[in-house]
Symmetry: C2
Subunit: 473 residues, 2 copies
């Protein structure tokens, strides 16, 4: 399928059918992505305000064989939101004007939002109605729901509430040939045909454009119990998580593993940030329980921790005694990615492994990295999900540019290890343009063939986000 670039005649045709408000000169932010791996290009920027306008655009692009790059908050980490130079100039389709957030339905515990709604705004609308929308991640102040769904975003509360896929009941979406799927159902059970919703979620804009969604809300836990622990080693983290889950049922909402290297990076780059331990050990856990006030959560947690202390699983713990202290604990976790960026990774990996393999991953990963020299590893993540952000850095004082020739080999070695452990080379971030080669290398051939068949069936002209997931043809 050879695509055409946006031309004057193409734009004239669009102007004849779309309101003038859909057109805006393209600004640099639409052509860049957070890690600076890709510089984008575009033939035009379109900002539709309804599914009907999106449908008009896709029909027009289909007729002209022009590529479409859907654009949400621009925070994706795999280059799914930019079309690199070299390909025919595409339409960049920003969903930012589709930013409505309806009134929460408190009986259904649902909330209907436009794809352009910013995640933090959605959280705030839910909170104002005494409800929780649990999707929570570092970029929540600027990422948009459409992008969260297109990439099946994860974050810190997946352990209890699931990923973006589990938080969405229904979708309105425009399919590649311009048909609108009215799938804004708010049902907990609906077995009427193939699961198109879950197919579009996580398809990274290659199978259509999500325009609205019905999201699930939850009761706000009346109390939060947040603790920072110093633990023996990663295996102790798994044991401790199991103990917490057994005593707290499904009420453990976060269980984050943090490496001392993370603390050192914070000290180095953000020295004014308060840290819970003066002399941190090698491994820490930040855990949070959300419960009703009837639950004697602090007493139970103290008893779990006492038993864990006696069993040698941990040697120190601080339980937040105020909301301010809770926020300070979370600030440590949430600013580690910023510290990481300031240090500058040689190679970053967003991996998951079966929970029981997590200690093995950390142990063997250290061996793999050591083969490349005296490098530093900062590995932190969501223990309950088996998800580690496993990042490799130059020695202290050195600059990553001097090690960039190692990036591909390090990445390959880490991903090979993950693969032998039955894991995933992309737990949260998706494939985009960055991990296409990993997908062909590690993906199951039968699944890849089925994916290609589905892509061709739904997008026969290949206009949707060309070059994402599949190599451009």
């Amino acid at each position: 399928m050879v695509l055409n670039p946006v031309t004057g005649a193409f734009l004239d045709g669009l102007r004849a059918t779309l309101p003038e408000t859909c057109f805006r000169p393209i600004a640099p932010r639409y052509l860049s992505e957070p890690r600076g791996f890709y510089a984008g290009q575009a033939g035009c920027l379109l900002l539709p305000s309804s599914a009907g306008e999106v449908a008009l655009i896709l029909r027009h692009c289909n007729a002209a064989r022009v590529g479409v790059v859907p654009y949400g908050g621009g925070t994706g980490l795999v280059g799914g939101q930019v079309m690199p130079k070299g390909a025919p100039a595409p339409v960049v389709l920003s969903l930012e004007r589709l930013d409505s957030i309806e009134k929460p339905d408190l009986q259904d515990n649902t909330l209907v939002v436009g794809a352009g709604a910013i995640l933090a705004d959605v959280q705030a609308v839910a909170a104002a109605a005494a409800r929780l929308f649990p999707l929570s991640l570092a970029s929540e102040g600027s990422c948009r729901i459409g992008g969260n769904l297109a990439s099946n975003a994860g974050g810190v509360q997946v352990l209890r509430y699931g990923n973006a896929r589990a938080l969405c009941l229904g979708l309105e979406a425009v399919l590649p040939e311009g048909r609108i799927w009215q799938g804004l159902k708010r049902l907990r059970k609906d077995n009427t045909g193939y699961d198109l919703r879950d197919l579009l979620i996580g398809s990274e804009g290659t199978l259509g454009v999500i325009t609205r969604a019905v999201l699930r809300l939850f009761p706000q836990p009346e109390q939060h119990l947040t603790a920072f622990l110093q633990i023996r080693d990663p295996r102790a983290a798994i044991d401790l998580l199991a103990r917490c889950q057994a005593r707290f049922g499904g009420l453990v909402s976060a269980f984050e593993l943090i490496d001392r290297t993370g603390f050192e990076f914070l000290q180095e780059t953000l020295p004014s940030l308060r840290r819970p331990f003066a002399a941190p050990g090698k491994w820490m856990v930040l855990l949070e329980i959300g419960a009703g006030t009837d639950f004697p959560a602090q007493t139970v947690l103290e008893s779990v921790l006492e038993a864990a202390f006696d069993a040698g699983l941990m040697h120190d713990a601080v339980i937040a005694q105020s909301e301010a202290q809770r926020e300070a604990f979370w600030a440590v976790r949430e600013r580690i990615p910023e510290a990481n960026r300031l240090i500058g990774a040689i190679s970053s990996h967003d991996i998951s492994v079966p929970l029981g393999q997590l200690p093995e991953m950390i142990r063997k990963g250290a061996g793999v990295v050591a083969r490349f020299g005296d490098l530093r590893v900062n590995c932190f993540g969501h223990v309950g999900d088996g998800n580690l952000h496993y990042n490799v850095y130059p020695p202290k004082g050195a600059h990553r540019a001097d090690f960039s020739h190692l990036r591909d080999d390090i990445k390959r070695a880490i991903h090979d290890l993950v693969d032998t452990l039955g894991g995933s080379f992309s737990a949260e971030h998706g494939i985009g343009r960055l991990k296409r080669d990993d997908l062909s290398r590690y993906g199951d051939p039968a699944k890849l063939a089925a994916m290609r068949a589905i892509k061709t069936a739904l997008d026969p002209n290949g206009i949707m986000n060309p070059g994402v997931i599949f190599a451009p043809s």
Copy 2:
């Protein structure tokens, strides 16, 4: 696509590649289904013992253009498991020999099972390892995991744990052209391409054959609190559920609405069954909380019920004081379907509506049914999921055969109502052969077109469960 019947030459070809143990004369049970709507036919019965053998069979069927009907426990309620006479005689492919259940992985909380494993056996293996596999439904003694996944089964604990789709982490499956997808991942987060797992789950054997699955396990709640309530009306049930969820967090595992008609049917057909109320009111709720022993569950429940009593939401409650009493409560709920069968419905409906619309559904539904005469409605179901089994019966003493001419019109009228309320005409049971016409009538046209495109892409010869979901071509 015109399919061919199984012939002697076709069978000779199969015998040359498959072990003799895969062949067995077909018994009547493979050709019937629980409601007796369809009488099946088959060209042969095959019982493969591995994904490799399934792949051989599908390749052979593809080459000869012979249809394949996958067969699990045979308990499906929409005729998905039988090929009615008139069509070319198909292969019936029973997964019963693929019934392995591995040792539970207690760190991952996962369990790998073959598609032929019986649900109750899976539950038992989990329980023996002090874990819970929460899928629970009336036919659990004979339904098989492959069928549960193919139909995305629901049941009584969806409220807390989700449906079959939410309980499965990975699949091994044979795609229609005979490729084996090795997707037995046991990962909580894995964003590497399209969600083929959730597409196959719920596709009712039309997109391939599931051969193995990785299931999620949960900690066993240390205590169960089970109560039978007499409530004011269906709206009170919704209010009460919200109060329970606010106080118990995510620990409410079942919340079943029961109509007095259900009690009357039990009295009529199974008079020896113990019932919790001598003089039941019109509406009852059976609720269950599963919690750790640290949670003062009984005290909290008593306080919730006291407040609900004061608010006029309910007027009587019995909390089970022993495991025997808990089982007796559940026996009432679980034997209602049996009583229903003994009475004999004119028309049964497995519907869901948005939670807030449930009272409206019940109120307007009564009006719809009254138009057809003095009929009885037994409506019971899973309040938290907005899912009602809404069944219509002849007047006491009359026989359903005398009313069968009304079936189609009643069904249409009820489904029309459900549709105007934003609901689903098949919450749990799927489409099969029984609800194909409903799907074309109520389904979204863009979704239907996408489904057809996916079906053609993955099964170009249309051999997989022909006539299920889509009309035979």
